[in-house]
Amino acid sequence: MPDPTITLEIFRYHPEQNETPSFRRYEIPYREDWVVLDAINYIKDHIDGTLAYRWSCRMGVCGSCGMMINGTPRLSCAAFLREYYPNPVRVEPLANFPVERDLVIALDDFMHKLREVNPWLIRAHEQPLSDGEYRQTPDEVAAYKQYSMCINCMLCYAACPVYALEPRFLGPAAIALAQRYNLDSRDQGRSQREAVLSSEDGIWDCTLVGECTVACPEHVDPAGAIQRAKLASTIDWYKRVLMPWGGR
């Protein structure tokens, strides 16, 4: 009996050769313990060295190997071939991002958005080093810990139809990251983030499709983070309108 094989259909785009992308089929050995990334590495090493893609850790930590696998955004290092075998596996670059080459997407927009939410501790007055660290209780850590697990893999952007339709939308990971700092007891920068969060292309664009949370490999629940941000912003808005003397 011949060794089993599996077919991968891979999105190819080489702008200097062809202005339109196409799919190329590769038949490779099927190994039960291989993930899609292993299969792509096999193709790169043995069949077609021109295939371009990003990867680093191959253990679900670095967040660089996100791809559309049979239409679903996945980390290719966490998607086993056996989930698809004997059917072919269709691999495309992450949806909703411009494609640089083959499976490599342009990251610029996402990097810009991450910076926009000021994702660091903001203090009204920095306390001097001699006063020691900013301490937190376990409860205070629990308040934001989930949102700090993001590995910036961008699967949530690929899952989000709002981002597909409106690329200016700030998007799930950036908003979850803003919430991660807003909910941190050491942080005092919420009002600074609010201008971006509550802008026209911030939280109010979200229609709670919820697929960002389904796609997230780290269980960050960006959809939940966005809804909580909406509730907090709304409470602030009513405070400002009903109690303008309140000052905050």
């Binding site: 702008p15 342009a106 499709v209 629940d221």
Partner: protein, 128 residues
């Protein structure tokens, strides 16, 4: 050399994926609920206009087509209720110390309130 390739988004994007399709259904339940509320408002208007107007409107509502609409609207409203309650824990996060109150408990409170409100309204309207 051409730049990065941008894949087009067809306006039928919500038909390509089960989750997106259910999302679109969820959003469109609001259309059926709003249409029902307009019919209810007309019922109230006719009730105010007098016995004849009210009774003829009730006959109109009793026609098979209108009852069919209401059966569909009821299904839409139930879908809205279930999706709304199940998403409520995403917005309302209650913490007891370091622990977050589990989502099924928050949703469960909603369902309990729903049963109580529905029974109360039905009792007030139908007690005769």
């Amino acid at each position: 050399m051409t730049g990065p390739y941008r894949r087009p988004v067809p306006s039928t994007w919500w038909l390509h994926n089960r989750a997106y399709f259910l999302f679109m259904l969820r959003e469109l339940t609001s259309v059926f609920i709003a249409a029902y509320l307009i019919l209810l408002l007309i019922l109230l208007y006719r009730l105010n206009a007098g016995r004849g107007a009210y009774e003829s409107y009730l006959r109109f509502l009793g026609a098979p087509g209108m009852v069919t609409f209401h059966v569909i609207a009821l299904a839409a409203a139930l879908f809205h209720t279930v999706t709304w309650f199940n998403l409520t824990p995403k917005v309302l996060v209650v913490r007891v110390g370091a622990r977050r109150v589990p989502a099924p408990i928050i949703a469960g409170v909603n369902y309990a309130a729903w049963i109580v409100f529905s029974a109360l309204v039905a009792w007030i309207v139908l007690r005769g």
